[in-house]
Symmetry: C2
Subunit: 767 residues, 2 copies
């Protein structure tokens, strides 16, 4: 049932022809030889270069902008400010409504009345060279009235805090009920989400032990290699074409439509290959700017961010403040839990606090539960999704408390988790019953793993084990299949390929058709060329787009059965299909998929089909980490001695890619726990906006991460897939905090665990 | 029933919302502002430039080729000869089989043992600049053994003629029977096609008047503006990508697969926009050369032909020799016809003689008929299709005889045609019954037209009237539709847009969906992105691909009915759709296509669908010309005084485009009749291989061509379309020959009717 790194295919997948094997990815060669086109690679005749002017103040009223001198510079073709966005002069938008307000979308990419963070776009320039554009930025004169910035959660949540948005009121949503209401209270708290099960007072009264702790996490960046890069050309007939590195070109089409106030169908978005996204490239920044610059210039305009702009002008993961209280009986049964979570949203509403409130306790069956989550705006970059949004922070606020409770009760922490593990039918915090997934199997695999069974061997060492849960809904995907006469197929989808999804999706179509992965030619196309397809994100692509590919393959089989029936002079209903072979019921004649493909042109012509699907969503997923560390008492540096990452992957459609997701997610979790973080000055300016100063893990910082894939097939998917892209980032945060705490004997509840923080903790121990 | 140039929409189409209107073409702006990408516009990083070495001999054995010096030239990255084509060393190919022989396909684009015409490719070079490539051509040393060339039909058909292909034998096909046989006789006659109806001896015996005449036509070129241009990159993983200006990228995929001996699925062909084709860009020339040069160089290679290469190295229309004998009774009933036609195929089998034999008498009901057609190889460029392939020549051999018979019988020639017009159920030369089409309606429209009713007004003037018939089969097309939430659709096809077919096809989908043409966003995509789609050619695209678009639109409606049923909480069967509105049977609630589109995402997600269809073929089409000329007796120059072009268009989906096809085809027919022609020297070299010397009509040479569209809806198509692209080129040849004959009183039966030819005729009259 479990498969470790690079092991042969699992027993579970041996019944499949393609699923569970490790073919070479279709896009591999192009990426290896440098032929793949990324965002900055777009070249068009007459292309212009755009640059962006950004606010030097975290909170300032823009009194006026004089672009005269910039416009007069030779080589400058256009300057845009908020005045060029019709939406800001539209009176049709109710400013009191913040949910889905297109004006807020627009303000995010172009400051209108106020600049709300250092790095907020104030103007943009197009010119015949990047250098002229850069020079022109210096000629734009902005008259600011500097306002007091709000730079941390505690300040922002104060009743008398300066308001970031004058009209913002708190939206309260009790998750047991479908809809929420606006409270009408003016505040920097954009929303308050609440989950409520049972009676926590009664639950805590039944507890023998209660632990209550506070936690905080820092702002971290997704750290993708490729800076944002977008090119737009807005033709004279009103049709806008955008090339951009994005996780979802249909989403870019939607947001540009809203911001620019033109129909979606007048916009074509062509996705380039993407050099990492992790959630952050699911939103728009540059596209509308490039579009308006192109419209004003009459030529295509490309804008590529610098690394500093990526750090300062795009969205990191939320910094948080969290408080967790959990009670349990002597025999290790959790009786109640109460969680309080405040998430920084940055300058506009929309932190992932909802993902944290739903998932932080998701692996535990807790009958009495109260979770309050707050989405708080302040004068920083608007946060964006980062791999399992909100869930690493949420798990970080729960797992150390679980560990401490178990220790206090004298129960092995994994054994304690097993006693409280959710099972099918138990209620999620939102009241929905849990489906089947491998919580028990994962916790048993962790408990029984040689890593957990092997004692630590040296001084200043510690071990931590923790789990991470998330839940994944489904979204729309489309797929088109055209059958080639040599028995191969072309597979067309709208899912940007981030983690090998071209191949993972192709394999599922191949499995249905009884052909090899190499016989499928997958292409990712623009918004004009395939049905609507939601973002590549939310661990959904292999599952949801795979679902669409499966449905399209099934439709191809249906159409081909009619051809076989024609050849065999029988009824369609008499033809069956099994593992790549069409079978005539009457005569037992057979035709392989390839043989029948060769006869399509003479039995009615080619076969192609498209389907659009709304997947049911892959549902819950559970991951776990066991990590051993050694802390250098002199320097406070943490060395990871051993790290084993577990996940219930459902069915690993391509085990090597699943391992890659596990290892990659784990490394990002390690960075988040130990090293990374935005350092701000007192005015809200970022002090470490380069990869030299923003400390991501390198190959030297991480050990070989052993992966353990547990396969509890997902009943919602024909091949049992789960969405594996995100969960692995969750458990490293609590696992490392527990491990370091154990190593130094001081509880560590505030990330990151940088050497200076650990040295201070060691000193506090001495004191 | 008839519509003239730029007239308002016809009565026939007033029942439609979109069909019969004149929207602006979707690709118009890009083409007007120069943004559309044509073959030569492809630019890729590291692109190399290819040039082709061509044979200076019409018939020569290639004893050896030394490429050493060329390869040693700095900047040269690869030289290819026939040695680089695995197919020439394959022993698996039976050389005795010429039908569909991939080796002959390959020899056509790269001479192997022999060079077969002046301009035949012998080698190709890739280099870092076109100039270096050109220079390298001069360093390739080819040792030729010059053979006697065969340069005209009569010589080629002699029993003791030198054989162009040692193994070529004659394939005899009696068209009344499905298959033919190889006669085994070694010859330059590649095939002999025969149509036979009734008893011609009996038929001629019943005739009161018999006319028998000989005709000949010259070699002419399609005269497209854009020279052939192809770019290939053959990646290290074996995948070959080709960008090329072609009428059919799927056909290029097939022929490259055969020539290069790799699977079709390893080839992606991206069609560029096309600057004219007229049939000649339906075959491959440069693509395999660029592919092998790329493979050897490891970089992309682009080859663009010069105009001289286009004339010498690509395929013109067949030169012909024809003899026609027709008998009729005194009351104007044709009793028998016998046709003999020899068509130059050029160096490889495959003239359009079949199109001539089937169609030349197609508008006449002739019970006793014998047609013999010969496909003859000789040492000239392999001919290619040219608008209504073979049919202008065929009509040129029949219509003047019809005119002469009528005159001899004292019957108006159009009246004579009406007495013999085919009607539904009459047999075609191949025995198949004629379906409904507007022969009678067209001939009546011509007879009753003011042009025909107005007498000529000056000396040396003549009038000619003639008709042209062709028959069009169907081929496969595919279409994908994705519904956008604003009620527009994306329409994806694989049909290269030559004559506005993006819009003509989009209009048909729009008609089904009850939306506007502007609400359809059509895209033409590469071979990876849509189901198999045959060439844009054979007047089939608006009909066949329109058919696929209609089917896809109907499927979209079917899927949307289910959504409407969901909203109305009723059964799918209860929902009807009428002119863009969904209607609930129970409640009579309605939802427009746009309103329901907006609700798709909340009723199950997006909708997209693909279909591939094999169309029934649009069948017969009939066109006619009335033309008045004045001949200058001093110079022999012909001035066209008035020209009216008629066609039964079925239903004019976009009248302006149909008018464009009629006028364009007529102009090409005028060029063919009066001016154009290949002049060869005694060795088979072309003497006028430039647009200065090859005399196409200019705007000064043609009058305003009035168009008369007759609409007899085609019962095979939902909106009654016929295929209108080709037929208009047919009647100008005979109409002008008759007009000039009438003007000068000398029968003109040999094209072109250049001033020197007319002067000679005038002199013969004097003598």
């Amino acid at each position: 049932m479990t498969t470790t790194t690079n092991s042969p295919r699992s027993e579970e997948t041996k019944k499949y022809g393609v699923v569970g094997t490790r073919p070479i990815r279709h896009d591999g060669l192009d990426k290896v030889i440098g032929a793949a086109k990324y965002g900055a690679d777009i070249q068009l005749p007459g292309i212009l270069h755009g640059r962006v002017l950004r606010s030097p103040y975290a909170h300032a009223r823009i009194k006026s902008i004089d672009t005269t001198k910039a416009e007069a510079l030779t080589g400058v073709t256009a300057v845009v400010t908020s005045k060029d966005f019709p939406i800001f002069s539209s009176t049709a938008i109710d400013l009191a409504v913040t949910q889905g307000n297109p004006r807020l979308l627009a303000e995010h990419i172009m400051a209108a009345g106020k600049a709300l963070y250092i790095g907020h776009t104030v103007a943009a320039v197009a010119a015949t060279s990047p250098h002229i554009a850069e020079q022109a930025l210096g000629l734009i004169e902005v008259d600011y009235e500097v306002l007091t910035p709000v730079l941390n959660l505690k300040d922002a949540m104060k009743e008398d805090a300066p308001l970031i948005h004058d009209d913002l009121t708190t939206y309260f949503k009790l998750e047991r009920f479908a809809r929420g209401d606006d409270t009408g209270a003016k505040s920097n708290i954009a929303s308050h989400i609440q989950h409520k099960l049972g009676d926590i007072d009664k639950g805590f009264a039944e507890a023998d032990v209660i632990v209550e702790r506070e936690f905080s996490t820092q702002t971290v960046h997704q750290g993708y290699i490729e800076p944002h890069a977008s090119t737009a050309t807005w033709a004279g007939d009103g049709r806008l074409t955008i090339w951009t590195c994005t996780q979802g070109h249909f989403a870019i089409r939607s947001s540009c439509s809203a911001i620019l106030d033109i129909p979606e169908s007048d916009i074509k978005v062509v996705p380039t290959e993407i050099g990492g996204g992790f959630g952050a490239k699911a939103t728009t920044y540059l596209e509308p700017l490039a579009a308006i610059l192109s419209k004003k210039s009459g030529r295509p305009v490309k804008i590529v961010m610098t690394r500093k702009e990526v750090f300062e002008g795009t969205g990191p993961a939320s910094s948080t403040l969290m408080r967790t209280k959990i009670g349990a009986t002597k025999d290790g049964k959790i009786t109640a839990a109460q969680l309080w979570m405040a998430f920084e949203a940055g300058a506009f509403p929309g932190s992932p606090v909802g993902g944290a409130t739903l998932c932080a306790t998701g692996a535990y069956n807790i009958e009495n539960l109260l979770v309050d989550g707050y989405d708080v705006v302040l004068n920083k970059q608007k946060v964006q999704a980062y791999r399992a949004p909100g869930q690493p922070q949420g798990a970080f606020s729960v797992e150390p408390v679980i560990d401490e409770l178990a220790t206090k009760l004298g129960i092995d922490p994994l054994e304690f988790r097993l006693r409280n593990a959710v099972k099918e039918g138990d209620r999620m915090p939102n009241g929905v019953p849990h489906p089947v997934f491998g919580v028990k199997e994962l916790e048993e695999a962790m408990r029984d793993h040689p890593h957990y069974q092997t004692p630590l061997a040296g001084p200043n060492q510690g071990r931590g084990a923790a789990i991470g849960y998330r839940w994944q809904g489904g979204q729309a995907s489309s797929a088109t299949i055209a059958v080639n006469t040599n028995g191969t197929i072309n597979l067309i989808t709208g899912s940007v390929d981030i983690g090998g999804s071209r191949t993972a999706v192709a394999m599922q179509a191949a499995e249905i058709l009884g052909i090899s992965a190499e016989d499928v030619y997958p292409t990712v196309v623009d918004t004009d060329l395939v049905g609507y397809t939601a973002n590549t994100g939310g661990s959904r692509t292999a599952f949801d787009t795979g679902f669409a590919a499966i449905r399209a393959a099934e439709e191809a089989i249906r159409l081909m059965k009619a051809r076989a029936a024609l050849l065999w002079e029988t009824e369609e209903g008499d033809v069956t299909f099994d593992h790549g072979t069409f079978i005539c019921g009457k005569t037992e004649d057979t035709l392989s998929f390839k043989d029948l493909s060769a006869r399509l042109m003479r039995t009615g012509g080619p076969i192609s089909c498209s389907v659009s699907t709304n997947s049911p969503g892959s549902g819950p997923i559970i991951a776990g980490n066991i990590v051993d560390v050694a802390v250098d008492p002199e320097t406070g540096k943490v060395d990871i001695l051993r790290c084993t990452a577990f996940m219930d992957v459902g069915t690993a459609v391509h085990p090597a890619y699943v391992e890659g997701q596990i290892q990659g997610g784990t490394v990002q979790g390690i960075g988040w726990a130990l090293n990374e973080g935005y350092f701000y000055d007192e005015n809200g300016g970022m002090l470490n906006s380069s990869f030299l100063d923003y400390r991501m893990p390198t190959a030297l910082d991480v050990p070989m991460i052993e992966t353990v894939m547990i396969e509890v097939p997902n009943p919602k998917h024909p091949f049992g897939l789960r969405g594996v892209g995100e969960a692995p980032i969750i458990p490293p945060l609590p696992a490392l905090a527990i491990a370091v705490s154990n190593a130094i004997g001081v509880p560590m509840r505030h990330l990151p665990l940088t050497p200076d923080v650990i040295l201070a903790a060691l000193e506090s121990r001495g004191a």
